[in-house]
């Protein structure tokens, strides 16, 4: 049975990932390539730099994100839901936008430096920690803390001996995700890091698209894959440990801050988090309101909606239409990722050894450069009936590939938490497998599935890399349009792109709020 479920995800992964990536790597690779590339001290330097900046980035993001993660998941306060949604916005903003907002914010001395890259990465990834760790906090049994308190344990003792040990697997897992995002980040490194400090991802982009040096690109892609797979292995160990069967226990962990200390803690953490997240967004809004050196006006906003009669015309007509395209593409990508991801999670949960393999395989797209996948698809999907190049479906397919691992990671623990006894009881009573799944499994994973879908949609809305390497006829998404607006010199174009970015942030915020509401009050995880 699990094998049958695995057919769709395995074919999907094989056709749209393994075959293309293997083909492009095979085309570049030869006997001496590995030695030549790894023998270059410059390339070894790039690998080392990529590694340590990602490690530092993960450590700082965890340090910054833990307090809001715990506070937001534990205490009820006005604006909590909105703050939870706002924190997620940076994660889905196109990197072009993040980069330029930070250049405006950071002192000039910081431009083109490693600290600038790390600050921006931390800002973007805070939500990963807040939402995943928060979700684990929400699942903690409050009775444990209450019992300890009754026995005389102070708040710090409870944090050290109960909360943190129970959260450790999730903290480890979210650290791993942040590491991965910083490791494979492309746009922010290019914009903020400056030309002297490429990462692996940037170097793969340069050797492939600018130099057509497929030999070097193949080795670098392999190195990146190996490093990421090792990390995924660690993550799988963590998340397997964190999933104990708990049944469909209703969670009742959210409470109002009762003591003065709790109220201060909640207030200060919430305010600080709001400030950190909102300031760069304010820069965007301000820019959108200054379409010329003459001063403030709404012209860029008129331009976004295609009403440009009173002023100049931006490079793109009616940029807001790109938001509609983004939403359409995002919904298709989400449907694909959620369907394939759920099937995969069911297969992984049901299988024994093969499950681990599929699980790891599904993680690979995360650790592979969008350029490698894009160029691979180009040389493999070129023969009918699989010649999908340039068709609109390629874009949601590419985005679904990136979102798929997250769907699996979020749905799998929920599936594992289903008490197998319930399934056996249903089977004994004569329920067919499908009915068992619909009546036992689905109600338990419904929330997780909603969360996964929301995450996939958000990722798709902000996706730039994979989309920009695919050939597109029409269907320009919002991030692509923002980049195109920035491609011509004028303050109106800059202002219009900022206005579109502000709109994209607002739409994303609404989408996340809707998903959070759909999933109910508890469990913040992605």
């Amino acid at each position: 049975m699990p094998w049958l479920l695995a057919v769709v995800p395995v074919c999907f992964l094989g056709l749209f990932f393994v075959w293309p990536v293997a083909s492009i790597i095979a085309r570049g690779l030869d006997a001496g390539a590995l030695g030549d590339v790894l023998g270059s001290s410059r390339l070894r330097g790039i690998i080392w730099f990529t590694f340590w900046q990602a490690l530092l980035c993960a450590a700082i993001t965890l340090a910054v994100g833990l307090a809001p993660a715990i506070v937001l998941a534990r205490y009820r306060f006005p604006g909590r839901r909105v703050l939870l949604a706002v924190v997620t916005v940076p994660f889905v903003l196109p990197t072009v936008v993040v980069g330029s907002a930070f250049l405006a914010l950071l002192p000039t001395g910081w431009h083109r430096t490693v600290p600038a890259v790390i600050v921006a990465h931390v800002w973007v990834n805070i939500s990963v920690v807040v939402r995943t760790v928060g979700s684990a906090v929400a699942q903690l049994d409050p009775a444990l803390g209450d019992a300890a308190a009754t026995l005389g344990a102070g708040p710090l003792q409870r944090l050290r001996h109960i909360t943190l040990p129970l959260l450790a697997p999730t903290i480890g897992a979210s650290g791993a995700v942040v590491f991965l995002f910083c490791f494979t980040s492309f746009g922010i490194v290019r914009l903020l890091g400056g030309p002297g400090r490429p990462t692996l991802e940037v170097e793969i982009w340069r050797t492939t698209t600018q130099l057509l040096d497929l030999r070097t690109a193949a080795v670098l892609a392999l190195v990146q894959l190996v490093l990421v797979v090792s990390l995924m292995g660690l993550w799988a160990v963590f998340s397997a440990r964190s999933a104990q069967p708990t049944g469909a226990r209703p969670l009742g962990n959210l409470r109002s801050p009762s003591t003065t200390a709790q109220r201060w803690l909640t207030g200060i953490t919430a305010l600080a988090t709001a400030l950190v997240v909102v300031v760069p967004l304010v820069v965007l809004l301000t820019r959108s309101l200054r379409p010329s050196i003459a001063g403030w006006s709404l012209d860029a906003w008129r331009a976004v909606f295609g009403r440009a009669s009173t002023t100049g015309r931006p490079t793109v007509d009616a940029p807001w239409e790109s938001l509609l395209a983004s939403l359409r593409i995002g919904i298709v990508a989400t449907l694909i990722a959620a369907t394939v991801g759920t099937l995969a999670a069911c297969a992984v949960a049901g299988a024994r050894r093969g499950g681990r393999l599929l699980d790891t395989g599904l993680m690979l797209p995360l650790g592979t450069s969008a350029v490698t996948v894009g160029f691979g698809l180009l040389i493999t999907l070129d023969t009918p009936p699989f010649d999908l190049r340039g068709t609109w479906i390629m874009i949601p397919l590419g985005q679904a590939l990136v979102a798929l691992p997250f769907v699996v990671r979020v749905v799998l623990p929920a599936l594992r938490s289903v008490d197998p006894g319930l399934r056996e009881a249903a089977a004994t009573l004569g329920a067919a497998p499908l009915r068992t799944w619909l009546e036992i499994d689905l109600p338990v994973i419904r929330r997780a599935l909603g969360a996964a879908a929301g995450f996939a949609l958000a990722m798709s809305l902000g996706e730039f890399g994979a989309t920009s390497f695919l050939t597109r006829v029409g269907n320009e998404t919002a991030p692509i349009t923002i980049a195109r607006l920035l491609g011509r010199p004028s303050q109106l174009n800059l202002a219009t792109s900022s206005a579109l970015a502000t709109l994209l942030a607002a739409v994303t915020l609404l989408a996340i709020l809707a998903v959070d509401r759909l999933r109910g009050e508890q469990g913040a995880g992605f």
Binding site: A104, R112, I293, T471, V473, A483, S490, A495
Partner: protein
């Protein structure tokens, strides 16, 4: 998808019927920043051939993708191969189908001379030049730079921002400008002086222009930037009403490096005849006249009038710096490595 498969079959059956191309849909592959001139619709009215523009990445990505898909192209015609990548593309046998357009003799002969075999057809020229912030220099009573040599003098310390030639096409053009001006042996020394004089390097044109340039609208601190000869009129065209009568920026003519762009018919197309008609149209007077205001490049066809703002503020350089594309093809990577060691090392 079944439907689109059917449409493809239908298109094939009517194109094989003879040399009648009406009803054919051509795919024009272009870089991301390509803006479709409105006259493409005229082409469809005249010939019955529809044109679909498919975009993917920058020029490097576009050309390298075409090379990788040689024989099974993603489209019928490619727009945007440039003179710096010309030799790499022409070294590939069977990438383009040669076509000698009847309009060729109307084009600038110095440009058509670059492709004696007619593998591709020149479609526009652009000049990459230093731009300066006019208000910045005026308010300080300093003269803007006149030559590349000026940039290494104390007057211009810490004023210039350029793009990394390894990752940006204007950045590469500016490096090639220095090679054209100071020679293969001299350019390194000039860049060493430029580095000592505080040149700032960023990865892309938009970062340089919007975030580092003083007239880019951001919080930039550098009044000289590498951009295009056509950038100054853009500061008027995209400005709010009442529009300024003079551009915010000026360009330094002696720094201009000429880049030529080409279009070519991709080998493997099923619509060669229609593709030839499209190439003819791309160099027609109607289409060429629209290029300055849509794509901020200059026509290659002689006798095409420039729009008024270009005539006044952005005439192409009379004697631009230029290098032989074959030499660029052979030595570009080595020059970039030398540059990287000198300026970023």
């Amino acid at each position: 998808m079944a439907l689109s498969g059917f449409a493809v079959l239908a298109a094939c059956s009517c194109s094989s019927g003879g040399d009648d191309s009406a009803g054919v849909t051509l795919t024009l592959l272009a870089y991301d920043s390509f803006v479709e001139p409105e006259s493409l619709a005229t082409f469809t009215e005249q010939t019955g051939i529809s044109v679909e523009v498919a975009r993917s990445g920058d020029t490097g990505t576009l050309v390298n993708k075409a090379i990788l898909t040689k024989g099974r192209p993603e489209g019928d015609v490619l727009w945007g191969l440039d003179s710096n990548l010309l030799s790499r593309a022409l070294a590939e046998d069977g990438l383009f189908i040669a076509y000698e357009s009847k309009a060729l003799e109307q084009l600038d002969p110095s440009v058509t001379a670059l492709v004696p075999g007619h593998e591709v057809t020149p479609v526009n020229v652009g000049d990459v030049c230093l731009n300066y912030d006019r208000a910045w220099f005026a308010s300080r009573n300093i003269a803007p730079p006149d030559t590349l040599e000026d940039l290494v003098t104390a007057d211009f310390k810490d004023l210039l921002v350029v793009q990394n030639p390894a990752t940006s096409s204007p950045g590469l053009a500016f490096l090639l400008a220095s090679v054209a001006r100071f020679g293969e042996d001299g350019f390194v020394g000039w860049w060493e002086q430029l580095r000592a004089n505080g040149v700032r390097v960023v990865d892309s044109w938009d970062t340089a222009y919007y975030d580092e340039f003083t007239a880019g609208g951001g919080t930039g601190s550098r009044p000289i930037v590498v951009s295009y000869a056509s950038s100054p009129p853009a500061t008027i065209i995209y400005a709010e009403d009442p529009k300024p009568t003079e551009p915010l920026t000026g360009s330094v003519e002696a720094s201009c490096y000429r880049n030529v762009e080409f279009a070519g018919i991709l080998d493997g197309t099923e619509h060669e005849d229609a593709a030839q008609q499209l190439i003819d149209f791309l160099v027609s007077e109607t289409f060429q006249a629209e290029l300055p205001l849509t794509n901020f490049v200059y026509p290659v066809r002689t006798g095409v009038a420039l729009p008024d703002l270009f005539e006044r503020f952005a005439r192409p350089a009379a004697t631009p710096l230029a290098l032989d594309p074959t030499e660029v093809g052979a030595k570009r990577d080595q020059w970039i490595t030398t540059w990287t060691d000198t300026v970023l090392g």
